[in-house]
């Protein structure tokens, strides 16, 4: 059933692409129906899969001569991320309601991207996974280059090239694994059982991890993320931060850790406490957490604050992955979901609700607009989203980051200590942005008062309210009752860490 999320999205992209131009209302309606259908299927698939392990959806030979299968399957991790994708897609469509330029093409690219994302999460053949992964690259380029803002062509090209370089690294490993395994198959399960030589895993693991990690915002390969997020139209930045970065993290987990677990082994020598690839990537993740937070603290552009906060939060995901402990990896997967929802929300508030009305994102200018009074909905929404992003109990981010920190403590306590600093700075930059953008205490001077009173902003529309509530609900439900996701994540992570993906 979950496979239909892919087919519906691609079919929708095709329909929208050939839709006669100029009928924006129809395009929106179709897009909403497709996104809602995808979300419903994702929920149904998630509910139906509760308590089950890996369920194969379809498995047919695709390229018989090369042993490549068209294998779609879902385990607990896939189901959670498919759910996230459905949610992000629906919210993305709602927040794109005001796009009037080439509307049908916008949604066509949007759903081509979404279809690719669904595909990656459901593929259980490395080759198929790679194909979907690359399908997701090109629509991003066009979404940003056509509908974006600030330096959009630069950002779009940077994003496309970074992604492509990352996928080239993955392709190299894919080719090598295919040639080395000799099992004449690219099925993830077969490859996981292929017993690659340790020497092979030792170089294949870092190449794969960096290849996917580029898309997950792994420091120092994260620089596409802030520029890309800022330049992208709202829905695209929601997707970029919400699901596309998760593609990278998912690849790191499923492919790099799943197929080459011995790549994480000790080298046998160490330098300043770094004795394995695991230490290297943990260090990079911790640097990402702290660095992203510090840079976010210094931004003058509201959207850049959120952009760098994404780098920081994705650092938790990567750190959780390399802890290799049950609780840490659980937390990482949960953080993928949580960050997908919260980052989507933040980008929506900044990019759609605020920017489309004020036409500026400079914190210094927003300070003089008193948005707290003039746009109470946005202020409320940002307070809640900001609090969730900081990781306050009751929201999904808390549970996720807590688990990651526990996992890190079990692995190496100093990882936890260092990333704890990142959390504190996270509180600081969120408060700073919140205060500057909405609750400035700088009173207007008499001559700054407009003569005809403060102009009214366009009223908040129903799609915005709906989508905001949807995302709130998601983060709250998961925050209050995390088991709803953890019950399906835990067994899947356990199986994956045990090796062999059985």
């Amino acid at each position: 059933m979950l496979a239909w999320t892919i087919y519906i999205s691609f079919a929708g992209a095709l329909v929208l692409a050939v839709l006669p131009k100029g009928n924006a209302t129809l395009a929106r309606a179709i897009a909403l129906v497709i996104a809602a259908a995808g979300f419903l299927i994702a929920i149904a698939g998630f509910a139906a899969g509760a308590g089950q392990g890996r369920v194969t959806i379809i498995d047919v030979p695709w390229v018989p001569a090369m042993g490549i299968h068209y294998t779609l399957a879902a385990d607990g991790i896939s189901r959670v991320l498919v759910l996230l994708t459905g949610l992000a897609a629906l919210a993305g469509v709602l927040f794109s309601w005001n796009i009037n330029l080439r509307t049908n093409e916008f949604f066509a690219f949007f759903f081509a991207l979404i279809g690719g994302v669904y595909g990656v999460f459901l593929s259980f053949d490395l080759f198929l996974l790679f194909v979907f992964y690359e399908i997701a690259i090109v629509p991003k380029y066009f979404l940003i280059a056509i509908w974006g803002s600030t330096r959009r062509e630069y950002a779009a090209m940077k994003l496309a090239l970074y992604s492509f370089v990352g996928s080239a690294m993955v392709l190299i490993v894919l080719l090598a694994a295919y040639a080395t395994s000799g099992s004449h198959s690219t099925g993830l399960v077969n490859l996981a059982n292929a017993d690659f030589p340790i020497g092979f895993q030792m170089w294949a693991f870092p190449v794969t991890f960096i290849g996917f990690g580029i898309l997950a915002g792994l420091w120092p390969f994260h620089t596409w993320a802030p520029t890309g997020h800022v330049a992208a139209p709202t829905a695209a930045s929601m997707l970029l931060a919400g699901v596309v970065m998760k593609l990278g993290a998912y690849g790191c987990l499923r492919v790099a850790i799943g197929l080459f677990p011995h790549g994480l082994d000790q080298w046998g020598w160490s330098f300043w406490g770094i004795g394995s690839w695991r230490d290297v990537f943990a260090l990079l993740a911790v640097i990402g957490i702290v660095y992203g937070a510090l840079v976010a603290l210094a931004q003058t552009d509201f959207k850049f604050v959120i952009g760098y906060s994404s780098v920081s939060h994705m650092g938790f995901v990567l750190l959780g992955l390399v802890t290799l402990t049950q609780v840490g990896v659980d937390g990482a997967v949960l953080q993928m979901f949580s960050h997908g929802v919260i980052a989507g929300l933040l980008f929506a508030i900044v990019g759609r609700i605020v920017y489309d009305r004020t036409h500026t994102r400079q914190l210094a200018e927003l300070e003089t607009m008193y948005l707290g009074r003039r746009m109470p909905f946005a202020a409320w929404a940002f307070v809640i989203a900001g609090v969730a992003s900081m990781g306050l109990p009751g929201f999904s981010g808390f549970v996720a980051e807590l688990q990651v920190l526990i996992g890190a403590w079990i692995a190496k306590p100093w990882w936890t200590a260092a990333s704890g600093v990142g959390i504190v700075i996270g509180v600081a930059y969120t408060w700073r942005a919140l205060q500057k953008a909405f609750f400035s205490d700088r009173l207007p001077k008499p001559d700054e008062h407009p003569k005809e009173g403060w102009p009214k902003f366009d009223p908040i529309t129903w799609p915005e309210v709906t989508a905001t509530c949807l995302l709130f609900a998601a983060t709250l439900i998961v925050g209050i009752y995390p088991s709803i996701l953890l019950n399906s994540i835990e067994p899947a992570v356990k199986a994956l860490l045990a090796g062999g993906m059985q």
């Binding site: 690259i137 996928s167 080395t180």
Partner: protein, 518 residues
């Protein structure tokens, strides 16, 4: 020699030549007063019929090819990879003929189509040739046709200039090739590929390898010119830019397919050197050598050859991709990207397999590449006719002026860049997998890594074009229409690129069917 046998093996070539003569007769005899487009239509139809007849004649070819009188050595091969290449050449010829429709660069339609068909004959011949003399004659037949086609736009100075460049380079490289061939003959006393391979293997004992290197470098120069590999590529950008669009498409597709088919023929002969000789029982070590580690022996034919080809391959893919970054003319960009693609393919030529894995991977690549480039040149020629140039800026805002054409360009260029699920991606994957299956050492792996990295570079320049097509606003709002038939052909090519990409097994099983009887 039995001429009936010769005739049976060369049935497809004969069909093409008859069609070429027929085109001339009809065009010059009956249609002298007719309108240009009518004449084009008639000529194209006859040409297509000729290609169809050639394909239809292929099953009636003598099964195992043609041998020398009184020997088991082949003169012309038939079936297997040869047949795939020949069918491919004929199909791509048909597609390039369709690009002629609606063009007005020449009044001499009959001659143009006739020359195209004769050049294809040369292509068919070199795909099958197993003898140095036949190879040379076939190559010249093909090349002379290409020089003429390049010069066909008589009103364009660029066309004449590029043809002259092409001709001079071509003449020189033919001289190199012949020089290399003469060394090979001198070293081994035979013009047959199998005999040469066997003779060169014996050279190891007599330690005449420096001469072998000289000979093979010369041969590589001659053949490298045909596939536009660095450093023998200098003609390509000018020719691609100056030649009329159908001619450029022909050079970029059919001529490439034929040249790589020739390289496949040479590689196959090298890998099967012991198969056809009588009394190979005492040569067990030789056979063992070729089944286990064919490339560790830097002597005989295969060692030097793969070293030379690998060097050319790396130079081509690095230089081609980097030079393409700086281009402003889309045709020149396609030329440099063609150089890069030739570099990728040459990797598989350098690491050639005894089984047909490599041959199939190369053919898969070059056939799909040919298909894609013909489409690209067709699209570029439409833009050129209306926009007046092939500069990047002529493509501005194409999505508004002709949505279908923009979609065609997006699909074809992304396929060239190797984005799945388009066919260009499978071609690359297939090819690199074949290289690694032949040899899992560090060297081939490093070469494949360079190739993959370079194809990441290539995305940049393809996106530069697509950015203008799809992202930037048009400078001029007028619609950009191509003739419905051309648009139809382009749409068909695009659909083929998508379908073959989504179902890669289709073409693989089609290719496998050619080996069924062998």
């Amino acid at each position: 020699m039995n001429y009936a046998d010769l005739f049976r093996v060369t049935l497809p070539e004969t069909a093409l030549d008859v069609a070429a003569l027929l085109v001339l007769v009809v065009d010059l005899g009956f249609l002298r007063k007719a309108a240009l487009q009518t004449r084009i239509m008639a000529a194209v139809l006859i040409g297509v019929a000729g290609c169809g007849a050639a394909v239809a004649a292929m099953p009636f070819q003598a099964g195992g090819g043609l041998s020398y009188p009184g020997s088991t050595d082949l003169l012309l091969a038939a079936g297997g990879s040869t047949a795939i290449a020949q069918v491919g050449i004929l199909m791509l010829t048909v597609l390039t003929l369709f690009l002629l429709i609606g063009s007005d660069f020449t009044k001499h339609v009959g001659e143009f189509v006739a020359v195209v068909l004769m050049a294809s004959t040369g292509g068919l011949l070199i795909s099958a040739a197993q003898d140095l003399l036949v190879i040379f004659v076939g190559l010249e037949l093909l090349s002379l046709g290409l020089y003429i086609l390049t010069a066909f736009a008589k009103r364009s100075g660029k066309s004449a200039e590029s043809a002259m460049k092409y001709y001079l380079f071509g003449g020189m490289s033919a001289a190199f090739l012949l020089f290399g061939f003469s060394y090979l003959y001198g070293l081994t006393g035979s013009t047959n590929l199998h005999e040469i391979m066997f003779g060169l293997y014996g050279m190891r004992v007599l330690s005449a390898t420096p001469l072998v290197y000289v000979a093979l470098v010369m041969v590589a120069a001659g053949l490298g010119f045909k596939v536009a590999a660095v450093p023998f590529h200098l003609w390509a950008p000018d020719t691609y830019e100056g030649a009329p669009a159908p001619a450029a498409a022909f050079i970029a597709s059919v001529s490439k397919v034929a040249s790589f088919a020739l390289l496949i023929g040479i590689g196959t002969a090298a890998m099967h050197l012991v198969d056809r000789l009588p009394g190979t029982a005492h040569l067990v070590p030789v056979t063992a050598m070729f089944t286990t580690e064919p490339l560790t022996h830097w002597s005989g034919f295969e060692g030097p050859w793969s070293l030379i080809v690998a060097i050319i391959a790396v130079a081509s893919m690095v230089f081609g991709n980097l030079a393409a970054l700086a281009q402003n003319s889309v045709r020149r960009l396609l030329a440099y990207s063609a150089i890069a693609h030739a570099g990728y393919i040459l990797l598989a030529v350098a690491y050639f397999s005894r089984s047909n894995i490599s041959a199939n991977a190369i053919l898969y690549y070059i056939l799909t590449y040919g298909l894609t480039t013909i489409g690209a040149f067709g699209a570029v020629s439409i833009v050129e006719r209306i926009g007046g140039s092939d500069r990047m800026d002529a493509f501005l805002g194409l999505y508004k002026r002709n949505g279908l054409l923009a979609a065609v360009l997006v699909v074809l260029f992304l396929s060239l860049a190797g984005i799945p699920p388009l066919v260009g991606f499978w071609a690359k994957f297939n090819l690199f997998a074949a290289v690694l299956q032949v040899n899992r050492g560090v060297a081939p792996f490093a070469l494949v890594a360079i190739a993959v990295a370079m194809s990441a570079v290539s995305l940049y320049y393809y996106l530069q074009v697509l950015k203008r097509v799809f992202v930037m606003p048009p400078a001029d709002d007028g619609p950009m229409r191509g003739s419905p038939l051309t648009m139809g052909v382009l749409a068909l090519i695009t659909i083929a690129v998508v379908v073959l990409g989504c179902l890669p097994g289709l073409m693989q099983s089609w290719m496998a069917s050619f080996y069924a009887g062998m």
